[in-house]
Amino acid sequence: MDTALLIEWLIKSVILLFFGLTGFAYLTLLERRALARIQVRIGPNRAGPWGLLQPLADGIKLIFKEELIPPLADKPLFILSPILTVLPALIIWAVIPWGRQIVIAGREINLYLTDINVGVLYLTAVASIAVYGITLAGWSSNNKYALLGGLRSSAQMVSYELALGLAFLGPIMLAGSMSLVDIVEAQKNLWFVVPQFLGFIIFLLAGLAEVNRAPFDMPEAEQELTAGYHTEYSGMKFALFFMAEYIKMIAISAIAATLFLGGYRLPFIDLPPILDPVVLFIKIFVLVFGMIWVRATLPRLRYDRLMALGWKVLLPLALVNVFITAVIMVFTG
């Protein structure tokens, strides 16, 4: 590996992480402002113009907060679990393509970190790791709310992972590849949301459940479990869970955009590659805003009904979807 490549790669990684972090920070602000608007309030608008410095203020506050570790907790796991939660949310970005090649100073640069041929498999694999973080956080706290929240979330996340994994199959079959770049390129003229509409809906629902957002925010379930699995966490460790949730929100939106909404491409129009990230960003924004909107609108499902929805509705539907896709593809060639 030559040095130039290494440097290029390093810069890309750092930029990606930087955008991940900024995205997280401003997503919290966006959520608070958007929720406030929906609820006939104003929202945070004091720190900086339009409250733009609010995330920074929150971050600084959290850094200076005392972190408590309950003496009865399992200390190594207690510290490990926030890391284990936030890490998958970050590394999932490695395979999401932001655009095609651009040329800077005579050098061809791919607008993605890497294009592995089993990209989709990587996504599912990484998404599964997050379950450990939350479950261990719940268990290691030695707190009853946390335990309940942790167990709930593990059962919930694995249940919806099945539907999520099966929803991936449609685009894979249509594109004939597990590489995300290939999948995007296959949607040059027709977004997969059209032939895979059912798959898209399943993906959205399962995705909401996978990132524990309303109305599937069972693991936190403030009304019953105070704060669920992160009840005992404070300071920056709490911030890590928070960060994981929001970065995952962006990530799941990016995946949905990539698999079903043409990723960084617009149909029929060939934009210069430099605008590709903007296109993807707009799609992510729309999806993320949808998530916020849902949170402002819907009450929470009850746990047993949530599981029933996952196993009795989404999973059979996802299987049927694959089945139908296969049959149709055989007949249409």
Partner: protein, 579 residues
């Protein structure tokens, strides 16, 4: 009210030739039952005479007579006046048979009477303190009980500056120094008696299950986001399912009734604001009504004041129900949006309260014989606009957003069911009772004020689940708007208070039970006067408190998430529950 001639010829006296006598003290009513006949009497009352609804149980300490009296108010769930019966026992070590087996709704109230007055109820399944903590010395509502740094028996105190110096209670209240423990009590070594038995469920294995699972005891509350205050539910969980639920309260207890007995009659009006702080107007009315009953024909409420009372009480009902719906949705996990939509309307109504009374929440608006002030200019138009234009529209909007929502229906329907029989037995009141299919509304069943002049329907729903308790609040808001529209149209001119406002008044000796249909249910005030400037006994029948009696029954077998919304659907305010 039952008048004396009726009592003297009451068929109950024939049924019980011995052990039951009419209460012949001046200003008193009802029957005095011998303690050993009480359960038999109550059973007959319920089964043969149709008095199936035990509204209020409380005790009175008649220190000069050396007697402790327990007062029961029973009603027919089909409507009509009260049947009052009493048991008198000696003050020292008073023992009364418990009526929980006949009226399960007596449960918490008997515990309260034990806690505050030291009356032991024989046969009560769980007779322990409910508002005070275990290890509290004495029973504070007894007349000879004195608090730390006791000053004087009655207000107004002789001097605010005894010895010529300003003196503040907090200065002589160093933390912990004002607490007295019973002689055999060590707070460091003590573990809660009742809780121990409750926590024993932790180590129980389910017998019929081949896979052994341990049940977990979890405390929901007191510091919990959705118990609506410092209320605690000790829940035994088998996985997600609630096996047992025990409500624990009293964290906000301030011995409202003792303070009320120290106050003069007038001082208690603003004090009732602090009970259910969301609906102070209704609280005022209940108390004022009781005292006006005692005053009898010495006082007449002017026509305009009667209308203003109805208007304020109905606005209060709207405020309360709209808030209850908002918080219920919050309990369901909707992130504050319905709540804030509801609060917007509430604020507009509070504007009116502020205009008439000077305060948005602690209104202190009612007076004996009327209300404190007339409407300021412009308020009448504002009310009209709200009642005829804005509120009906907004209620329809809430209805449209929430009622048919899939998640709301899935979460609420069939959850926390209370059958009509149970609802009556547990003395549930207000929306909880009516959602169970019992069309009992004090405004209709035992009309007070001028409610008999208005056209409105008693809202009733039949499933008794959380969803119906939500719907019935919408129904009641609509009915309140109907009443308001009529009241505003008919509002006459004239005085708003009888005579000139007085600071103190001579209240004849006797007892009175004033009850209104508060937004949360039947709110009753039992006031005993000994003819002096302060009430001898001042008891609040708090619907938030008594409705909780049925909580365990409603929650058992449901999921832990349901327990939260069931509590939300009862709609409690801790200021009233704990008093």
């Amino acid at each position: 009210m039952t008048d004396t001639t009726l009592v003297a010829e009451h068929p109950l006296l024939e049924r019980f030739p011995e052990g039951v006598t009419p209460d012949e003290r001046k200003g008193y009513e009802g029957f005095i039952v011998a303690a050993d006949r009480l359960v038999e009497f109550a059973t007959a009352l319920r089964d043969e005479f149709g008095y199936d609804y035990l509204s209020s149980v409380t005790g009175v300490d008649y220190l000069p007579d050396g007697k402790m009296e327990v007062v029961y108010h029973a009603y027919k769930s089909t409507g009509g006046g009260a049947l009052v019966f009493k048991v008198q026992v000696p003050r020292e070590n008073p023992v009364v048979p418990s009526l929980v087996s006949v009226y399960p709704g007596a449960d918490f109230q008997e515990r309260e009477a034990w806690d505050l007055l030291g009356i032991r109820f024989e046969g009560h399944p769980n007779l322990k303190r409910i508002l005070m903590w275990e290890g509290f010395a004495g029973h504070p509502l007894r007349k000879d009980w004195k608090e730390a740094y006791f000053e004087e028996e009655k207000k107004p105190f002789g001097s605010r500056w005894p010895g010529g110096a300003v003196h503040r209670a907090e200065d002589e209240n160093p933390f912990g120094k004002n607490v007295v423990y019973p002689p055999d009590f060590d707070p460091e070594k003590w573990t809660p008696v009742g809780d121990e038995a409750l926590y024993a469920g932790l180590r129980e294995f389910k017998k019929d299950d081949d896979l052994k699972t341990e049940q977990v005891v979890v405390n929901l509350g007191p510091q919990h986001p959705s118990t609506h205050g410092v209320f605690r539910m000790v829940v035994t969980l088998d996985g997600e399912t609630v096996v047992r639920l025990e409500p624990v309260m009293g964290y906000l207890h301030r011995n409202h009734e003792k303070i009320g007995e120290r106050n003069t009659y007038l001082m208690n009006i603003p004090f009732t604001d602090r009970l259910d702080y969301l609906s102070s107007m209704s609280n005022n009315w209940g108390y004022v009504q009781a005292v006006e009953k005692l005053l009898g024909d010495k006082i007449q409420v002017p026509e305009r004041a009667e209308y203003l009372r109805v208007i304020m009480a109905e606005f209060t009902r709207i405020v309360n129900h709209i808030f209850a719906i908002g918080t219920l949705l919050n309990d369901l996990g909707a992130y504050f949006t319905p709540m804030l939509y509801a609060l917007e309307e509430r604020e507009l109504i509070l504007d009116i309260f502020e205009a008439v009374s000077g305060s948005r929440m602690m209104c202190n608006y009612f007076r004996f014989g009327g209300v404190a002030r007339d409407l300021p200019p412009g308020v009448y138009e504002k009310m009209r606009d709200l009642v005829f234009e804005r509120l009906p529209r907004k209620i329809d909007e809430l209805d449209r957003y929430l009622t048919e929502n899939e998640v709301v229906r899935a979460r609420c329907e069939g959850v926390g069911v209370l059958t009509p029989e149970e609802a009556i037995a547990f003395s549930a009141a207000g929306p909880v009772l009516r959602a169970s299919g019992v069309p009992y509304d004090v405004r209709r069943a035992d009309p007070y004020g001028i409610y008999d002049r208005f056209e409105f329907d008693v809202a009733v729903r039949y499933h008794g689940d959380v969803y119906d308790r939500y719907l019935i609040r919408l129904d009641e808001i609509r009915q309140s708007i109907r009443i308001l529209q009529q009241a505003l149209d008919q509002l006459p001119e004239g005085d708003v208070i009888f005579g000139s406002p007085k600071y103190s008044m001579r209240v004849p000796a006797g007892e009175a039970y004033g009850r209104v249909e508060g937004p949360k249910g039947e709110l009753g005030f039992y006031v005993v006067s000994d003819g002096s400037a302060n009430p001898w006994r001042y008891h609040v029948r708090a619907p938030s408190f008594i409705n909780l009696t049925a909580l365990s029954r409603m929650c058992e077998g449901d999921k832990v998430a349901d327990a939260i919304i069931i509590l939300g659907s009862i709609d409690i305010v801790l200021g009233e529950t704990d008093r």
